[in-house]
């Protein structure tokens, strides 16, 4: 019997080259769950924005010394994704390479999004995505 993985866990260096690796790992998980292409694309976009936020805001030096921990799990017909950094939190940057639209994009796609400061510091973004139908 084929075993379908319903959870992925990945740790990347907190630098730009790690961002697409997370997206590819997520697609692999969602493919195994028979999730549609458009829902998969939406989730990939939201999680990419969360990882980019972590790279840009938690580790503004961009030296790749920190790490970002991502978990994604199939729970009750939804996908629960956590992106946790161990850096300086969501510090504002006037020189940000983004547009400041990351969180609104995540909020528009996800069923729910929570941002917390876990023990030990850093920032944790917890997102939950519907896996059936358009993620409106």
């Amino acid at each position: 019997m084929e075993t379908v993985s319903e959870r992925v866990e990945i740790e990347i260096a907190a630098a730009a080259p790690g961002v697409p690796l997370v997206r590819h790992a997520l697609r692999g998980l969602l493919s195994g769950l028979d999730v549609g292409d458009e829902v998969t694309a939406d989730i990939a976009l939201a999680v990419t924005e969360a990882c980019t936020n972590a790279v840009v805001h938690a580790y503004p030096n961009g030296d790749g010394q920190g790490t970002i921990h991502i978990t994604a799990a199939h729970v009750d017909g939804a996908l629960a994704v956590t992106v946790r950094d161990h850096g300086g939190g969501m510090a504002p940057r006037v020189d940000t390479p983004g547009l400041g639209v990351g969180l609104p994009v995540i909020a528009a796609i996800a069923q729910s999004v929570e941002i917390g400061t876990p023990e030990g510091g850093g920032t944790e973004v917890r997102m939950r995505f519907a896996l059936s139908g358009p993620a409106e």
Partner: protein
């Protein structure tokens, strides 16, 4: 550059430089995309950015596109972005969610974008 692989092509067509983004682009390639666009704007009188073979962009790349449009406008260069049916769902989705589909000068095909960028 093979279609489907991630990459950036720049081609001169008339007075227009066409920057084609293949595959996926995000924070990891945004600096390269910006550099190629800046280089094109130094000599071309028009710039077309072709996203018809782009399967994914994030907000870091979107910022590069907005900056390119602003710079082209400031120097009087023509500018247009091709967002076609063949562009990835994520490309359309990001533009719609951010409302920037109304702010950016987009055209429905590569040919239309080149014509628009060369019309100024």
């Amino acid at each position: 550059m093979t279609s489907g692989a991630n990459g950036i092509d720049v081609e001169r067509i008339g007075a227009v430089d066409v920057v084609t983004l293949h595959g996926e682009h995000d924070l990891s390639t945004a600096t390269d995309v910006s550099r190629r666009i800046d280089s094109a704007l130094e000599t071309a009188s028009g710039l077309a950015i072709d996203l018809s073979q782009t399967t994914f962009i994030d907000s870091a790349v979107l910022r590069v596109l907005i900056t390119a449009q602003e710079r082209a406008s400031a120097q009087g260069a023509g500018f247009a972005i091709a967002v076609a049916d063949s562009s990835g769902h994520g490309v359309h989705r990001l533009l719609t969610l951010t409302g920037l589909d109304a702010k950016l000068s987009t055209r429905p095909s590569r040919e239309d974008a080149i014509a628009a960028a060369g019309a100024r």
